[in-house]
């Protein structure tokens, strides 16, 4: 069996030096890539000369921000700055969380519909394209186009925009997880004469859920950042504060405090979320499988 494959692949006689592979394609790719980059650099209307001001300005801002961050937080007006930044960061977290939950609830069934091993082909194709379409649109656009006209300005509209935005990625990832599951339990469930919905519940969900839940958490981390973007449209949260601060007279001390709050809260939430994700992925599978098994006993008897 191995012989013919081997002799077809081998282009040279044993012991003799082979021809080096042609470099033409590599060279063409390299030249084309370089040309695109150079063209972009030449055509873009950027005021490169302003780069010289960058280090000085940034240094200046950093020292002004450090002033704000390092001054006594228990004195006015810093106390108020810290408080307000925390409140609005919390609001951003709420928006992100609600958005993630909306995304999770909506994307879960869509993930099943987009999984090739579960759904009929036409359904898969249609749902996939819908998910791709949603992924192509920034949350901000959802907010501008749909949420603000109906819901008005505010965090609820922001949460909804984040939710719709999350459906695309989460649905796609859910479908991929479902397509990667072990077929054994599904066939076992089918062999007992279970109906399609029962097969999904006992054969598919327990296998897929841990990874899917981990993706939800990951999306939450992304949504925290995205919620800041929505703030620019006065959808509330830390982004609103940031854009107000920059739109006005740029109180750099206050901006510094706000940035520190964003950095610290985001990193802490990321760490917690990452820890939970690892736990879910390593231990959770077994747990969820067990829950499914133990609670299936009364159902079966």
């Amino acid at each position: 069996m191995a012989r013919p494959i081997e002799s077809r692949r081998r282009t040279t006689v044993p012991g003799s030096r082979p021809q080096p592979p042609s470099k033409t394609r590599k060279t063409i790719g390299f030249v084309a890539g370089t040309a695109v980059i150079v063209a972009c650099l030449l055509l873009v209307d950027a005021r490169w000369e302003n780069l010289s001001e960058l280090p000085g300005n940034l240094g200046n801002y950093v020292s002004l921000m450090a002033d704000g961050v390092l001054s006594n937080p228990l004195e006015d007006p810093e106390t108020g700055y810290w408080q307000r930044a925390f409140e609005l960061m919390l609001e951003s977290l709420y928006m992100a969380w609600v958005g993630t939950m909306i995304g999770a609830v909506v994307s879960f069934p869509l993930g099943f519909l987009a999984a090739e091993n579960i759904s009929p082909r036409p359904v898969v194709l249609i749902v996939r394209q819908i998910l791709n379409a949603i992924r192509a649109i920034p949350e901000l656009i959802f907010a501008i186009a749909v949420m603000l006209p109906i819901f008005g300005f505010g965090p609820a509209a922001g949460a909804l925009a984040l939710g719709v935005g999350s459906v695309g990625t989460l649905g796609k990832l859910t479908a991929e997880v479902i397509e990667g599951i072990d077929r054994g339990p599904v066939e076992a469930a089918r062999a007992t004469g279970a109906r399609q919905l029962q097969i999904l519940r006992w054969g598919v969900v327990p296998q897929a859920l841990p990874e899917v839940v981990a993706f939800w958490l990951y999306r939450f981390e992304i949504n925290i950042r995205a919620s800041a973007i929505l703030g620019v449209l006065a959808a509330g949260g830390i982004g609103s504060l940031l854009s107000q601060l920059f739109a006005g007279t740029r109180q750099w001390d206050r901006i510094g405090i706000t940035l520190v709050v964003i950095i610290v809260v985001t990193i802490v939430v990321d760490l917690i979320s990452a820890a939970v994700r690892h736990r879910i992925i390593s231990g959770g599978k077994q747990q969820l499988v067990e829950v499914a098994e133990t609670s299936s006993i009364p159902a079966a008897s």
Partner: protein, 278 residues
């Protein structure tokens, strides 16, 4: 010449891997180091090119003191010492010849490495090294697509491309099947004879050790417990080194006479069809 004087190595965990080793290895000799797993064979060999720092004592290689060498000097020293690993340590995703060219790193300026523009002379050396281990036809194949035995020969070529004075091999055949193991050992022996490269090989199969070693060194718990020729190393000696009676696992268990034809057959067909498990 390689000279260990009172060399001891203690690992951070407190394991005494080498205790008071005194050892001289003449230029051009073929030395096999045997001992149970954990006896300190790897540590002994890695001390020679400074991959493991000494805790005390001194170690002289080709007139240079390893324990005193700074980073730059150590790199110069290492470039004169080829090394072959049990797990081949090839970059699997790149071509065979690129792997062999890693043997020229020390002679190549950094900017050339970054651009991948090795000198033609270095490329020629790499091809010659591949010819010496009879695998030059695979020069532009990805290393991942070779069998274990072929990968080990590529790693020998990589060491040869260094034009080394000393060749170190840490259990080079432990991951290979018996016929391939013999091919690789024979390659090492041939290189030692033809090029006069001092060769130090760690093994734990006593039959291979006896077949290929001009000189055998026995290690047990960090100490040298035997130093003699292949003929002197009989079963009694090995039982002494291993501290127990011998078992079937201690020999490669190859029928005494293997025709060269069989080995060549193995080399060109059977092996190349196998895929690397990783």
């Amino acid at each position: 010449m390689i000279r260990f004087s009172n060399v001891s190595v203690t690992y951070p965990g407190g394991v005494h891997a080498l205790r008071d080793i005194d050892l001289e290895i003449q230029d051009g000799s073929f030395v096999v180091v045997v001992g149970l797993s954990g006896a300190g064979k790897s540590t002994l060999v890695r001390a020679i090119n400074g991959l493991v720092p000494l805790t005390s004592g001194s170690l002289e290689v080709n007139g240079r003191h390893v324990e005193q060498a700074g980073r730059r000097e150590l790199r110069a020293l290492r470039s004169e010492i080829g090394m072959i690993f049990q797990s081949f340590n090839l970059v699997k995703r790149t071509s065979v010849v690129n792997n062999v060219l890693m043997g020229r790193l020390h002679q190549t300026p950094t900017w050339r490495t970054l651009l991948g523009w090795y000198r033609p002379a270095d490329r020629e050396l790499a091809m010659q090294a591949l010819e010496r281990v009879e695998i030059v036809e695979k020069a532009y194949v990805r290393a991942a697509n070779l069998s274990g035995g072929q990968q080990q020969r590529v790693s020998i070529a990589r060491a040869l491309a260094q034009e080394p004075k000393v060749m170190l091999a840490d259990e080079p055949v432990a991951s290979l099947d018996p016929p391939t193991a013999n091919v690789v050992m024979r390659d090492l022996q041939r290189i030692n004879r033809e090029l006069g490269i001092t060769t130090i090989v760690n093994l734990h199969f006593l039959d291979l050790a006896r077949r290929y070693g001009d000189r055998i060194i026995g290690m047990r718990e960090g100490e040298m417990v035997f130093d003699g020729t292949g003929e002197q190393a009989d079963e009694k000696v090995f039982e002494d080194i291993y501290g127990r009676s011998l078992t079937a696992d201690d020999v490669l268990d190859l029928p005494a006479q293997v025709g060269l034809a069989d080995v060549v057959e193995q080399r060109t067909d059977g092996e190349s069809a196998r895929q690397d498990p990783s």
